[in-house]
């Protein structure tokens, strides 16, 4: 009898401990609680709250070109940003120019110093704005797809909010204030065919 009570107590203890040690949860519930990176929110915050301070201090395109002609290595080191290693870097620039041509994919400007700039109005893709901002750190992300999604979402906002009002109003001869990101390759430096992904565009009356 005593043995029986002893075994019963042990069984109760084992069942109690076992019951509280093993949990079953639906996989869908678990997935819902895992943290996923919110790229659209990140991109919105980058563009609205963080980037203005960067574009405010950005070098003018004319000054950048002047410096690149004199001292390309130093200029790349001081002004260029990129998340990968290699010859390509991205630069945040600003300036003013006059529209000299408009086609399906670009609006071409001539700047105050008569440098040519193409504002991309169709093919707004790639990492230029993300990298040129200097605000995104590779080591903050273990997942490279999240990094790529930042660029994707930033470009989506530019294509939706910045390009359409500009494109519908722009005409030859208009003066434009711009900020944006350009890509340059230090090993194959081409200063006559620069295309910019715009961050802001303003037609000056």
């Amino acid at each position: 009898m005593k043995k029986g009570i002893k075994y019963a107590i042990w069984i109760i203890i084992i069942v109690f401990v076992g019951y509280n040690s093993v949990y079953f949860r639906k996989l869908s519930e678990l997935k819902a609680t895992e943290k996923t990176f919110n790229a659209p929110a990140y991109a919105q915050d980058l563009l609205n709250n963080k980037l203005p301070a960067v574009t405010e201090k950005a070098i003018t395109l004319d000054e950048l070109i002047t410096q690149l002609k004199v001292s390309p290595a130093n200029t790349f080191a001081e002004n260029g940003h990129v998340l990968s290693i290699g010859s390509t870097k991205f630069f945040m620039v600003k300036g003013t120019g006059t529209i000299v041509d408009i086609d399906d994919s670009d609006v071409k400007l001539s700047t105050i110093a008569h440098n040519e700039l193409q504002i991309a109005t169709e093919y707004v893709f790639g990492n230029a704005i993300r990298d040129a901002s200097g605000l995104v750190n590779l080591n903050d992300f273990t997942n490279t797809i999240d990094l790529s999604n930042i660029s994707s979402e930033v470009n989506k906002i530019i294509r939706a909010k910045v390009i359409p009002p500009f494109k519908s109003a722009a005409k030859k001869g208009d003066k434009v204030e711009f900020t944006g990101a350009i890509e340059l390759n230090q090993a194959h430096l081409n200063l006559s065919d620069i295309e910019m992904l715009p961050v802001s565009l303003k037609i000056i009356p």
Binding site: S84, Y123, F125, N127, N139, S151, N185
Partner: protein, 280 residues
């Protein structure tokens, strides 16, 4: 190495080995023949032989993790080159190409050359390799915005030239009137081009690849291939060997991942490039 049946990987292996030797180390190249079980044997042999570091090009982003962890447990540092494993704790560092961004640029060029319309085919690489999906996603992140461009077929040819030829031949049976082909590497692109040439369609169909292999660079010069994305296996291999050297000298704070930029090569700038890198 995942395989030595592809000259690109032969170049990667030989460059890594040469850099390690120049730093004073003994090296050996193991061929995993695209087989994770063979890769496991290679790891066991390397660990048993007393190698202190493995410069690793995985066969499978998930399946290779167990091999990396075995090496780590045996005190052997692993530096991944070109292909990653899905582990943030196993490898000491992973040195990879930025395939996604490279294919965003490829996608942009493809859309422009196709004038935003037409039927195209995608030939994928090895499905267990993250590079396959990084390249595909980068490409589609641009191309899918253009409803005039229609993907009529998508199939894997395992990064292999002969399979690329067979897959292209087979797809042409069902879709004889395509306008473009995007291949996840140059070996498949050259195979696809061969199939198109045999079918008399090489002048009509635009073919794009990825890697910057010798025959693709020549193909661009000859007008056979529209473009490719140049990877820099020399940078990856030398970085991996240098990191191993630093590891042996006591360094431990390596970046978990490094991305090496990839550059577009087309008819316009092909004279600036040679196979696997830049001219100057």
């Amino acid at each position: 190495m995942s395989t030595l049946n592809n000259p690109w990987f032969v170049f990667l292996a030989q460059t890594a080995s040469a850099q390690a030797k120049s730093l004073g180390y003994e090296t050996k190249i193991f061929d995993s023949q695209n087989n994770t079980a063979t890769e496991t044997d290679n790891f066991e042999n390397a660990i048993a032989a007393g190698y202190g570091a493995i410069l690793f090009n995985p066969t499978d982003a998930n399946g290779s993790v167990v091999n990396v962890n075995k090496a780590k447990a045996a005190g052997v540092a692993v530096f991944c080159m070109d292909r990653e494993v899905n582990s943030t704790t196993g490898p000491t560092s992973q040195i990879l190409s930025d395939s996604y961004s490279g294919c965003v640029n490829l996608g942009k060029y493809f859309v422009k050359q196709m004038h935003k319309k037409g039927k195209y085919v995608e030939i994928l690489g090895i499905v267990a390799d993250n590079n396959t999906w990084n390249r595909s996603k980068g490409f589609h992140s641009v191309v899918d915005y253009y409803p005039g461009l229609q993907m009529v077929a998508q199939q894997s040819a395992d990064f292999d030239r002969n399979k690329g030829l067979e897959v292209m031949e087979s797809i042409l049976q069902a879709h004889p009137d395509i306008d473009g082909v995007f291949c996840g590497n140059d070996a498949m692109a050259m195979g696809a081009y061969q199939a198109l040439a045999a079918a008399g369609k090489a002048n009509k169909v635009k073919v794009m690849g990825f890697d910057g292999a010798e025959d693709a660079i020549q193909g661009i010069k000859d007008g056979k291939i529209l473009g490719t994305a140049m990877q820099f296996p020399k940078v990856m291999a030398q970085t991996a060997a240098n990191y191993a050297d630093e590891y042996f000298k006591g360094k431990r704070d390596f970046p978990k991942k490094i991305q090496v930029g990839v550059e577009m090569v087309t008819g316009k700038n092909v004279s600036d490039y040679i196979a696997y890198g830049k001219k100057n």
